[in-house]
Subunit: 164 residues, 2 copies
DNA sequence: AAAAGATTGTTGTTGACGACAACAATTGTC
DNA sequence: GACAATTGTTGTCGTCAACAACAATCTTTT
């Protein structure tokens, strides 16, 4: 169908200077409810907030967690490799690593193969810290299950598997 | 299971200053692949980029589109009502409306019921423009279908329906 | 081997966005 | 009428993506 069919249908009180106080959820979203992007955005906000709250005591944000996890699973990676794999700008990764290195979780080792690049490694403290982070992240993941349901979460992971 | 079971398993060449150039996608994500948040984040980035590109000619970003859609479907709403409904900070909405009002798509009408608030309306040009935006947004939505599949998209919308 | 081009890490800028805090004008409550 | 709450506004701060520029270092070409 063409879009002319999607008539907007002003609900009520279309007037001009009305603005009677509306009851919050009686507001229609119209075309928005058919858009995956809108639902995904709202969900992502929720999920990130829960992650940040759940990992609040250890002060680790989602992006930091993803960087630590990838380095932990692939020691010796260059910054470029990590950035590409996670879809982060290499400029942004610089600050992330600065922070993680100050906290003694990661160290940059000058590579001898390519003296431009740094080989990234977890420090011993980084390893034990990451283990704790993973425990908390798993707890966060349980919150997701409680929110959307166990089977829905798995369905969602399958649907979006290509994007990881 | 407890998290100690999730042993990280450094893949190969764990040494210290290695950093041999890796082949991009042979990098393991480890724990990340079990996290809904990571997949959702990557998907959201993809979907927003496609939206921005598809609506690039008319220079409309996702948030602007959501604001226009809600106002179009509920003329006369206050800024507070729109902000609450879309989960936007009212402070942020001020700038969004400034921009949309400069482009003559929206107008703020001083409410006579509550002289603190503004009743939001689309201008005539705003109406016709929104119709075009919706057409383009529908095209973007088709891109999503091509990417994840028609039935997967519907499944996803059902799963995340509560967040809209 | 020297010159030209590409890559890596870094620094900086821009703009969208969420979170907060403060404020004037106005409304609601007691 | 005094006092608290709400609405729009302005401002600051920190996160994040997108670029652009740069020095140091490979890689390729000749």
């Amino acid at each position: 169908m063409t879009a002319t069919a999607a008539r907007t249908s002003p609900r009520k009180r279309p007037g001009n200077g009305a603005a009677r106080p509306v009851d919050a959820d009686e507001i229609g979203l119209d075309a928005l409810v058919g858009h995956a992007g809108y639902a995904v955005r709202r969900f992502q906000i929720w999920i990130f907030q829960d992650f940040i709250r759940t990992l609040g005591d250890v002060d680790i944000r989602p992006t930091q967690y993803s960087v630590l996890t990838v380095i932990g699973a692939n020691p010796g990676l260059s910054q470029m490799a990590v950035a590409k794999r996670l879809g982060i700008e290499r400029a942004r990764l610089v600050h992330l690593l600065d922070s993680l290195e100050q906290r003694k979780l990661v160290k940059r080792v000058k590579s001898k193969v390519d003296r431009r690049s740094h080989a990234l490694h977890l420090t011993p403290q980084g390893e034990t810290a990451l283990a704790k982070f993973k425990r908390l992240a798993a707890e966060h993941e349980r919150h997701v299950e409680e929110k959307i349901g166990k089977e829905n979460r798995e369905r969602l992971l399958r649907i979006l598997a290509d994007f990881t």
